[in-house]
Amino acid sequence: MPTMPAGTLYRGKVGMWSWVLHRITGVAIFFFLLVHVLDTALVRLSPEAYNAVIGTYKTPIIGLAELGLVAAILFHALNGVRVILIDFWRKGVKYQNVMFWIVVAVALLIFIGFAPRHLAHVFG
């Protein structure tokens, strides 16, 4: 009977990989958000409870993870803007490739601006 053999990985270009990243970062942010709403809800319980949990956010490991989260949000948000421009701006389709690299560049710039400061806070 006919089957669907796996074969090789499709070699898409930036359009495809940006979507893969967008999807992965979207899922990551989603799960973080679930946790984040819950932990923030602890403020309703008691200051001690909240502070205890938020304290863990300040440990180096979670601190680093936060860095990843910020990177994910940066990419997801900026690429989201790129997607919106592709959808609504006449020339968006034409410049999608360029826009992807702009997204990467801007995300990197902001990240470079943010990371040292954040690390200083975490480790300092």
Partner: protein
């Protein structure tokens, strides 16, 4: 010409109303707003002042005493959760091959979303920055020392 126009056939699946268009529009509208909301949120919480170090009950209490931040965080909560859940729904629709599994997962997603949105909203509205009986050093500076 002998060609007669036949009544066009019906589309492939027409199971009730379909919200895909609105979902698609929502993702873009909420996405655009979220850029401002989330970047603002991250900027004030993680970048300004002491960054993550400064976050504690007092910090949150201080922020939420201002209606501006209340609205801000509420908007963010609603927009982001619905955006995220709808995005997750898309992904589930893509990859869940069994209809039963797909249905369950989508229901679960919206369930979680509803719970968290309600919880979050209640917290923001019923939040008391100066709960009685808490240690004063944990509270925002404006709380009356009890």
């Amino acid at each position: 010409m002998s060609v007669v126009i036949e009544q066009p056939r019906s589309p492939r699946s027409r199971k009730g109303a379909n919200w895909e268009k609105y979902g698609w529009m929502y993702m873009r509208a909420s996405g655009a707003l979220l850029v401002i909301l989330i970047f603002g949120h991250l900027f004030t919480n993680l970048f300004l002042g002491e960054g993550i170090k400064a976050i504690d009950f007092a910090f949150v209490g201080g922020k939420w005493s201002d209606p501006f931040w209340k609205v801000w965080d509420l908007a963010m909560l609603w927009l982001a959760l619905i955006h995220g859940t709808n995005g997750m729904r898309t992904i589930v629709n893509d990859y869940a091959s069994k209809e039963a599994v797909r249905k369950t997962l989508v229901w679960a997603l919206w369930g979680i979303c509803a719970v968290l949105v309600t919880l979050g909203t209640l917290v923001v509205f019923t939040f008391d920055p100066c709960p009685a009986g808490a240690a004063a050093e944990l509270l925002p500076s404006f709380c009356p020392a009890s």
